[in-house]
Amino acid sequence: MAKIRTIIVEDEAPARDIIRHYLKELEDIEVVAECADGFSGLKTISALKPDLVFLDIQMPRLTGVEMLEVMTEKPAIIFTTAFDQFALKAFELNAVDYILKPFPKRRFIEAVNKAVEKIRSGTENKEPAELLAKKPESAAPVNRIVVRKGSAINLIPVEQVKYVEAQDDYVMIHHSSGKALKQQTMKFYEENLPSKDFVRIHRSFIVRVQEINRIEPYEKDNHVAVLKSGEKLPVSRAGYKHLKEELSF
């Protein structure tokens, strides 16, 4: 049987050491690469297409969770983390397992066995969008959005986001230097973008309040929001009410 090709993505050297050490004793596993930050982790994963990845959450440049958001082909993931278990619960289904550092060997082996079983049986990972939407309230507020454009990974600071538009199963993020498609739900952004800056004006639009230049009536009951850039976005009746509350006019 082919060995399970594994990558360790973890920014602290001693933490990589112990994972490598535990894995050395397992005959099924072959460590093909080790990465010390999120970007190089992502690059290596798409280059080597491993079966299994040990993924730390807290890492420079890109967190483990953000990496998972933009991975196109998903290997089996085991999260390793020191203290993010609450944020992790939501990703539990998406990852094979998560282990809290420092972990006992028994717990580590258990997680690996789970992963091996899943890889051997060929079970597909679930789609992330529905799961990402379950992100609990206790998670840190969104202050950047990770998107993939071809093979490039971009981080869009929330301050640069002008509006978010629904597009089937995706959302289009319109920001100061272009737009980017992202697999995520409108509900997620409605709940996680800073509510003092963003208003949901329509089923398909969440807009930054400061970007609105004026609001014009449109047809008989409806309105449109004219942005500073000149773009016009529809405002639903409920959205008009939200805007009224937010801007108190």
Partner: protein, 351 residues
């Protein structure tokens, strides 16, 4: 509440002097009003007021009792009137019984008694009123000062708790990741693992044991910080480097405990956590115009997409400085060209 007279020697003496004075006054009054009964009136005045004084002393207890838990003024008033009636009646009866025993064979006693009886009632009521006023004044003054001291105590308790809360925030990321490093080192380098456990213990002991009210020297703060940074260096290896430029005379300046650690933690969180470059933390300390200036700077990734914290760590330091020094100390921060700097100014004369 303690008895205002019996529990205090000075008040006890003053109490009896006042009564003696009143008794002499009354004796003189009786002498001029009923001159024929001079010897009786002197003995009577001294004796009767002595008795009344005893009764007055014991009145404290029922008064104190009426006031505890009673809020209805009518009930208190009824109690006071009833107690007054009983007290005055027993006083007059005791006096009536005792004086003939001390002055036997005074045939004109009955006549004297009848003549002074209305006056006795009047005096009894008047003095009773004075006693009520005295005791109640005492009670309210005591309550007031007790309330004040209670408030002061509460305030210091709140302050203490706040200081404790602001301080005891050891980052769980630091703790668990360090323990994970120890776990790893037990396999690869047991000596280093032991070394790290000892450093971690010393750091935790320092962080947990010191009392907030007792300032520490910069020297012991820096010693503790080196422990902290040594531990972090095991985690991050070459990615973290530190440098110190300290003026010799600053080492013995006192400052609040665990004040610098959050600043380093902040530097590591925004520097090392978010960057793959080497992060250099530079500490420089010098004395300027009676202030100890502590400057901690670190390079960081200034890109707008870099993750930002909530600023709690720095806010806590500012709040602690406020609680310790009022407005006599301050902190400022700046982030320019990828270098983040925190400057702390602490009064240097604070021993």
């Amino acid at each position: 509440m303690k008895h205002p007279v019996l529990e205090n020697r000075v008040r006890f003496v003053v109490w009896w002097l006042v009564w003696l004075f009143v008794a002499l006054g009354q004796a003189l009054l009786f002498y001029f009003a009923y001159g024929t009964f001079l010897n009786i009136s002197i003995v009577d005045s001294l004796l009767s007021l002595l008795i009344y004084s005893g009764i007055a002393l014991s009145l404290w207890y029922p008064f104190n009792f009426f006031n505890t838990g009673q809020t209805k003024y009518l009930t208190i008033l009824m109690n006071l009137v009833l107690t007054g009636a009983i007290s005055i009646a027993s006083w007059i009866m005791i006096t009536r019984f005792i004086i003939p025993l001390i002055l036997p064979g005074q045939q004109n006693f009955d006549e004297y008694w009848t003549a002074t009886f209305p006056y006795r009632i009047g005096t009894g009521v008047f003095i009773y009123g004075l006693i009520i006023l005295t005791y109640y004044l005492f009670m309210s003054l005591t309550n007031l000062s007790e309330k004040k001291s209670r408030e002061a105590k509460l305030e210091s308790l709140v302050k203490e708790t706040e200081l404790k809360m602001l301080r005891s925030q050891i980052n769980p990321h630091f703790l668990f990741n360090s323990l994970n490093s120890v776990s790893s080192l037990t396999i690869t380098d047991p000596d280093k693992a032991r070394d790290m456990v000892i450093k971690l213990s010393e750091f935790m002991r320092y962080a947990l044991s010191k009392k907030d009210e007792q300032p520490v020297t910069l020297r012991s703060e820096l010693e503790n910080l080196r422990l902290y940074l040594d531990i972090e260096k095991v985690r991050f290896g070459d990615r973290l480097s530190t440098e110190e430029k300290i003026e010799e005379k600053c080492f013995d300046v006192k400052m609040p405990v665990m004040m610098l650690q959050p600043l380093y933690e902040n530097a590591i969180k925004h520097g090392v956590y978010e960057s793959t470059e080497i992060v250099r933390i530079i500490t420089s300390v010098k004395l300027i115009d009676g202030y100890m200036e502590i400057i901690i700077s670190n390079n960081y990734d200034p890109a707008p997409e870099a993750r930002k914290g909530t600023g709690t760590g720095l806010k806590n330091v500012v709040r602690r400085l406020e609680l310790f020094y009022g407005n006599k100390s301050y902190m400022k921060t700046s982030g320019e060209n990828g270098i983040f700097t925190v400057s702390l100014y602490i009064p240097a004369d604070c021993k």
